[in-house]
Symmetry: C2
Subunit: 344 residues, 2 copies
């Protein structure tokens, strides 16, 4: 979807991917099939591109730093990537700049975990510090007696324990910042996850305007603090009493922003391209309320029914293998005019 | 833009083009660089594709027939293409099915031209029967004394003489028909040409509802008559007294429909892909009034200003060489809510 947005604006796209037949390569001018660490491929990418970006936060930060060393312009930079890749760094950074998160405790040993449970209360969520997404690499720990087995199941260390957040809803901000420091954000999405995987995003979120204002302020603090360039997805817990806690951020376009493709004049993908290419940002005001539903695994087989719904806008990703739970596409249902002026 | 629309719906695209570095090839999974008549390339295309289409009406109709013979599904079929390629056939066919056109006369000799001027009145427009677009291959003939030189300038024969139409405006219908015979049309666009090249399309056109209804009925007669599958662009002269004359039709997506990219949920490109893939058609009701302006030649250099206009939606085609008058991109300015329910 980033490649499609770039093509619309007249850019040629080169893709570096370890995957031989990737959906992105089918809509890009050049493809380099190589591992992220392949120095020859990275040198070629640096030579081909006026600016390099990524859409996957587990690209090693060292690779991005290496591209920069090779003279490539990279956005977002390695700082945001390095911080986002480590849940302890991420939450520490957020708290440092005054953005609240759930309580957390670094866990390298069973003793750390026991201390963490004592500090944060049980049950609490044990996660690997690195990798893991869509609910992978995490386990609830209900009692001290489960501590050893839980830590063992996640590799024995290099973990983070997170307090349970009794939130009333999950929301996210899709924000964008360009090289000049200009900032914009789309209206808050309200998100429902199932088994750790995003199922539905609804816009507008069912929150009062002051909650949205607070969420935008937190997103702005974050991107300014990171000196960030591009689109960022910031997931938050709405505690229902005016408090918002950031759960995590993704230094890339975000699944909870896919609704912008069909409900906004400028979607998150074009915003990202505009930001990294140092173009002016586009408007973020939707013209319709929207509900985006992911098509997981075999659900993609319902495409014919979805294509026949007049207000359903269908995206199919062209992934070859509809493995259970895999994100194969999404559908956005437009729900009439957007009720507020929205945007930031 | 067709390739981008197909990618969104999960299709892989293969392009056959005589151009080595074409914009379409940069967003397609496969590219065959070959002349349209290259039999080996056509056989490969037939093998690669579930359905073949074209976006250029001067692809030889024999090539399309050949693809069909090789077992390929082709839409639109060779009939529409063959008729659209010959201005005499085109106007004769339209009149046969009860769709009015300007008066015309087939011209193979100077005597034909003289007789035509007598029949249709002077000045009249002499055009080549085949090829020629964007104002190329045509010349006004004001008097009989100019007849010989005029015909010579267009190759000495194989021409058509067209009566001057004292129209008040040029309008166009972008219509679509799928394999099941379902029909839809976007609201009428009002078009301004300069030197034979489209400059601006405005939607809605400044016409009463009955004119739009009549235009849709003519477009429907045409696509039913052709047993057409896909999007078609039908250009008409609005005579200002309730009469509409078809000027010509293009058996493809059409420049006067580019506004649909940014003012409709389903644009003409996705409609075309839906129609040829035998999907249900999408809605044709715009959510905004729109004005589309072509960026010709060096005008594309204004992209930075256009990108900064909040209600301007920019498309740049990635053509390498901004030759004078060449269509390098377009910009659509959204003009608030669409004032009518629109569509067909």
């Amino acid at each position: 979807m980033l490649a499609l947005a770039a093509a619309r604006l007249g850019f040629d796209v080169a893709i570096l991917t370890p995957e031989a037949d990737s959906p992105a390569s089918r809509v890009a001018a050049h493809t380099l099939v190589a591992n992220y660490g392949d120095e020859q491929a990275l040198a070629e990418l640096a030579k081909l591109c006026a600016v390099v970006t990524f859409e996957f936060e587990n690209v090693p930060a060292a690779v991005v730093a290496g591209l920069q060393a090779a003279g490539a312009e990279v956005a977002p930079g390695p700082k945001a990537l390095a911080i986002a890749q480590d849940r302890v760094l991420e939450k520490s950074f957020l708290n440092q700049i005054g953005v609240p998160t759930v309580g957390f405790h670094q866990v390298d040993t069973v003793a750390d975990l026991t201390a963490g449970l004592d500090l944060l209360g049980a049950p609490a969520l044990l996660k690997t510090r690195r990798q893991g997404y869509d609910g992978k690499g995490q386990v609830w720990v209900r009692t001290v007696s489960e501590a050893e087995a839980a830590l063992e199941s996640l590799g024995g260390g290099d973990c983070i324990l997170e307090a349970r957040a009794a939130f009333v809803r999950e929301v996210s901000v899709i924000a964008v910042r360009n090289r000049s420091g200009a900032f914009a954000a789309y209206p808050l999405a309200e998100n429902v996850h199932e088994n750790g995987v995003l199922r539905v995003s609804t816009v507008p979120a069912n929150v009062p305007p002051e909650t949205e204002t607070a969420a935008f302020a937190m997103a702005r603090k974050l991107v300014d603090g990171l000196d960030y360039v591009g689109v960022i997805g910031v997931e938050m817990f709405d505690m229902g009493d005016g408090r918002l806690w950031v759960n995590e951020f993704a230094p890339r376009v975000h699944n909870t922003g896919h609704w912008t493709l069909d409900a906004c004049q400028v979607d998150q993908f074009e915003q990202h391209i505009r930001a990294i290419a140092n173009w002016p940002l586009g408007p973020t005001t939707p013209f319709a309320a929207a509900e985006m539903t992911n098509l997981l695994g075999a659900e993609v087989e319902t495409w014919a029914e979805l294509a026949a719904e007049p207000d359903a806008r269908l995206w199919l990703y062209g992934k070859r293998d509809a493995k259970p739970g895999r994100k194969m596409g999404h559908v956005t249902r437009l729900k009439g005019r957007f009720p507020t002026t929205g945007g930031a």
